[in-house]
Every structure is written in C-alpha cells, then in structure tokens.
Point group: C2
Chain length 423, copies 2
Amino acid sequence: MPETEEAIHKQILELGKKARRASREMMGMSADEKNHALLAMADALERRKEKIQEENARDVSEARDAGLSDALVDRLVLDDKRMAAMTQGLRDIAKLPDPVGRTLKSWEKENGLILEKRAVPIGVIGMIYESRPNVTADAAALCLKASNAIILRGGSEALRSNQAIADALQEGGSATKLPADAIQLVPVRDRKAVTSLITMDEYVDMIIPRGGEGLIRAIAENATVPVLKHYKGICHVYVDGDADPEKAWSIVENAKCQRPGVCNAAETLLVDLSIGEEWLIRMAEILQKRGVELRGDEKSREIVASMLPATGEDWHTEYLDMILSVRVVDGIEQAVEHINQYGSGHSDAIVTRNKGRQEYFGKMVDSAAVYINASTRFTDGAEFGMGAEIGISTDRLHARGPVALEELTTYKYVVTGDGQIKE
Amino acid sequence: MPETEEAIHKQILELGKKARRASREMMGMSADEKNHALLAMADALERRKEKIQEENARDVSEARDAGLSDALVDRLVLDDKRMAAMTQGLRDIAKLPDPVGRTLKSWEKENGLILEKRAVPIGVIGMIYESRPNVTADAAALCLKASNAIILRGGSEALRSNQAIADALQEGGSATKLPADAIQLVPVRDRKAVTSLITMDEYVDMIIPRGGEGLIRAIAENATVPVLKHYKGICHVYVDGDADPEKAWSIVENAKCQRPGVCNAAETLLVDLSIGEEWLIRMAEILQKRGVELRGDEKSREIVASMLPATGEDWHTEYLDMILSVRVVDGIEQAVEHINQYGSGHSDAIVTRNKGRQEYFGKMVDSAAVYINASTRFTDGAEFGMGAEIGISTDRLHARGPVALEELTTYKYVVTGDGQIKE
C-alpha cells in the first residue's frame, strides 16, 4: 500500500506530538514507578512470547524468500535464548540506579542563591536501527529508565517482530504509570518516515542511529535534530620502545583476535622498533598462527617478509575481520600523529612502562577512550560499569564513548532564593 | 572584488585545516602557557589600541553612510571604555581556573582497570556573530582558555575592527607557545563563507552563533556541524496562591524592568488569583508606573481594566521591551503547562512559600534555569559563578543555560591497566 509523502509525514508528526506529551508526563515519574513499568514490560514479553515468535517467523521466512544473506537472517531470529536475554535485560535495567534527579553539582552564591545542577531527561529520543529486533526492547527500556519517550524505527525486514515486541511493551506498561505514548514504533516501511522523524525538531530532541556507516552518514546529512553518531572504530595499539614485551604481545593479540568483528577491535599496530626486531617477528608469528592477515609498511616488511604490503587505504580501513595493518613509527610523537590523522576517535592503546609517555599519550590522543597497558576491547558500557549501553558515540559533543543511562540525560539549573532580585 | 563560490570555499577550508592542526597542538598546552598567551594578548591590545580605533572609525563612518540605525552604529563603536573592558576581560579569563584536564570522575573496576573521565578541549569552534567587535576578543580568549582553536566570523560591517583586534591577538600570541593558527578570522565579507564554515565537519567541531533568531535558524538549518543554539528568551514568572506578596511584586518588577532588552527578562506573568485580586491590582500599578504596557487575558482584564487585550500571539512573543503579557491560571499545573507550551526553555520562576509546589515546579518546568523565589535575571555565566560566558544555550544537548569555560570542553576516558585483556 503505497502512501503519499504528505500522509506519511502527517502520521510521523502525530507520533512526535504524542511522544512530546508523554515525555512531559514522564518528568513526573518516580524511580519506583519507572522500575515497576520495566518489570511489567518484562512480564508481558514472557506472556506474549509465542505471539512474538510467530510474527518473527513470518519476518524470517520473508527475509529468506527475499534472498537476504544467512548472516542477516541470523540477526533477525528471536529464538528462546534471545527472548530470555531480552526479558532479562529489562529486569537488569530496573535494578540500575535512577539517572534522573541526580545533583551533579550544587553551590551557594554570596547573595544567598542556591544553585543546583540537576540531571533531567533529554525528552524524546528517535532510535533508528537495522535488523536485530531485540534492540526494540533494549532501547525502549533504557530510554524509559532515563524518563525519555522513544520513537522506534527498526529495519523494515523486522517490522512484524518489532511491532509484536512494542505491542507487548505497551501492554505491559499500560497497567502502570507509564504514559501510553512513551514507547511508539513507526508503523510504516517507507523510508520517507525516517526523513520526517529526523527533521521534526519540535518533537524530537535526539536521534540515535545504530547501523552501518552509510546509514549513519545519510541520517546525519539530512537531520536537523541532533544525531549521536557512531561512525566506525579504527582502533590502534601503539607498542612503545619501553613496552613490556609479553604484555604487548598479549594486548595486541587480544585487541585484534578476541572478537574482530566489533568496533573496539584493533585495526592497526604501530610499533617503535627500539623494542627490538625480535618482538615484531614473534608478534607476527602469534598473529599469523591465529589466522590474521598482516599488511605492513615497508619497514615492517623488511623484518617480517611474509606480510602483504599495506597501501594508503589500509590506514583508513575498519576491517572488522582477521586483518591487521602494521606500521613502524619512530617514537610516540609519530604514533600519536598517525592515530589522530587516521583514527576514528574511538579507542586507542599504548603499551609502555614509561610514565612520561603514558601521560603524553593520554593527553594527546584525541579519542573517546585512551588505554594505557590494556586492550582496546574494553570500550563498552557494561565493561566501564555503566550498565547496558544504547550505543557508542564517536561524536565529541554531549556524549563520547559508551552511551548508557547517564548519557541519556541532560541537565538543568534549579535556583532557589528568598526573594533575590538583580541589582 | 567578487569571488567565486569555489574560491571562497577553498579559502575557508584552508582556515579549517590550519585550525585543526592548531587544536591538536593546543592539547599539549599547560595552564601557565595559556595564561601567558592571554596576558600577552591583552598587552598587544593595549599597544595597538590606536590602530584598532582607527580601523573602527572607518567601520563606523561607513556604517553611518550606509544608513545603519543609531543603535547598530552604537554597538560598533570601540571607545576607550570598551577597549579597556575588552583588555580587562582577557586578564580576567587568565585568572580563571583551567577547565581542561579536570578529573570529572574516576573509578576502579574489579579487573584492576582504573577509569578516569577527564575534561578535554572540544577542538575547533566556529563563532558567528553580529555587530559588536569586542566579541572577537572575548570569544577568542574563552576558546583559548579551554584549549580550543577558533575561527571567527563577525558582522561584515565590523570587518576592519575585527581584523585589527584579531591581528593584535595574533601578534600578542606569537611571542608565546600559542600556535599561530589558534585564532583565525574569516577575511571575506561574502556570506558564502558562512556556508563553508558550517558544513566542514572534518575541521570544525561546534558552531556558536550569536545574534537574532533569524540568523541562528538559518545557520541551524544549513549546518552539518553541531550548532549550539540560543533562540530566544520567553521567560515567565508564576505567582502562586501561597506567594509572599511583597517578594512577588519585587521579583516580577525586577524580572521585567531591570533590563527589558535582554533574553532573561520576563515576558509573561502567570498568576493564581487565590493570592487575592488586590495583589494583581497593585502589581499592575507598580508596573504601569514604571512604564510597562500590560497585555492581559480576559480574566486579568476583569480585574485590571487598563490592560490591553492579549492575543494568542502574545504568549509566543519575546518583546525585549517594556511590555508584559498577563494570564490568570487556576493553579500550578496550568502554569507549568503554559510555560512548557509557550516558553523557550530559557528561564522561568515561581514565587511561592509552598514546598510541594516549589518542588513540582523545579521538576516539571522544562527549562535551562528554573527559579524558586528569585528573579529570572540571574541566568548568566558571571551570576552563576562560572566566569565570563560565550553565550547561553536553549538547546538540550551538550550544554544548557550559560556556556562558559567548562561548557567549552568535552571529555574522554583514560583507562590505565597493567596488561588487562578481555576474556
């Protein structure tokens, strides 16, 4: 059923208006009321499990018929294990501390005014994501916990699954203090709906896109609502001349191989050869034994001839695969320059025992997370102790790195006086 | 000399590249080095005072010839008093604490990783402003103090003055550790330069526009770089039934009359008549004696017949003048609803002795600054104790309310380990 642009725009605008109203009501919800809603939503997911899996089966079979790759189809599937994880996710979020209402800072002025900088909800979040239907529940729960209303726009291939999950969440919430429009799903497959969602500044305060770089760039270019972007993770490990050789081997191997398909995996090794050529020879053996393809610059290939030659393109590439580019640098300054030039501002590590260089690296590398003697693989809301994350930001403003509950709030000043007026 | 779009774009792109390089160098500047640069810049402004005033006189005479209003011409003028204030501003900023490098939070994980959330510079700021040439020095100094590079784009009628000030700042900085391109001024009058500035995401991290709502909307609509917006100040005072009548008179009078042309002045009075009709009658007398034109809704005009009738438009209007709209509300809920619907999220006040209503107002009014028993006129970086401000944000993300040194920083995580790898 093709719909006109205008009809779709009107429909999305209506979702926006409702979300804004809901977000205002949510400003008054207590922590208990929010947690109660989360638990009721978890119960509803369990109650409606069969219905959700039925709808999911229809999405999956349609995706297969449409010739989607096995990997994409796998992401779609909501088996019992994934259903249970989704439900447990909601219960875990209920246990986390309330991010709203925290006093971030408080001080008194000479005139007796008391200023409080207080954490408050952002308002309405627009969440745009691809295949995995579990994001529907995860994102809704995190936004709710931070007292934000959410408008969800999942992948069109998962629309039935997402709708069934959203229905369950709404049913669960309906017996609680949660406003009916706190969680809404965009019900149309047409891409024009996204254009409307990302341009209605009046009703949406932040867009969080989750997906490939292409999706995110397209959204950022066309949005007028602020977008919290995660472009890519071109992460580096710099092995300094003063590195502990054992730790350096282990950190590089972990950063590359432990899970190469994720954004905080390393893509480039930078090495100062004053650690000794033997270090690099052994490193190459370890990685090649794990099945890593090495692409080196000229100097590193003089030492390890089995490396393929790296091209200029390699330094810009997020492989998300068992491939590592290798460059010999002549010290920390060149390493930092390389990282700031080619990196994506995500996660970068130094391995060294030298205190001065640890400090220099921590100060001069312009990334969301900078590691000293540890693997880049720790950049993650749970690993940082922030609870579940809704995403990771490679942006510089508002939030950087893992975006969890606190990052889903903003602040306001509450100023209490006793009749003070400005002289 | 008309220039082609392409030539201008290339020129601005070049400024951007240089600013990015300078901003990376500035990450390594110590507090002392920055303060030294600020003081040297202040000295240079004094040394070059005559030259600056000469260039300013040319701008002023040209503006007069072009028929600019007296008010606009007045803003342009750099007399001795303004020159001294500008110089003193730089010296004051040198005395403020360094906003960069602060540990915002620090914690240890069970695996021994130590996480530090550290304040760091944003990078490159694009500042777009209208007439007043003193903004050139103020904005440059604040950005420098937060280790940000700045690209300045002032009003074209002030180009000679701005250039003379920027030259002085650069000369002052040149004898210090400040990178030569830390402070750059867009040297072309053509508006196409603004289009380039606000779309080169790769080189500019944040745009701060200062000017009328029209300017800011045009920038926000066309920018791909994040814009810190200040749209307008439609500020309210709500006088509750339990207000101290004397304090309520004094706060409303102050919020409206002390300086009506600024964004934190009140534009609308909301009153719960359970305080007594006499309160409103006396309030109207006080305000009318000060020369305020009152525009009331039906109910308030039944009590004070001398008010003009308010139209729907009035609730949306930032008068910036001795005009106040007045509406009778039936309690705090209606007051909050009015503020959240018509306000601009800037500064809003309640006057009441009732604790529960103070709390409700503080929680439910969705504005950058919420006042309890105090005038809205205090929303200002200096009044809040933050030092000088570069602007006020009515946005919700990154910074809300006064934007001073801390708001000109972002953060990163520095994670220190001892060889930790992800299991």
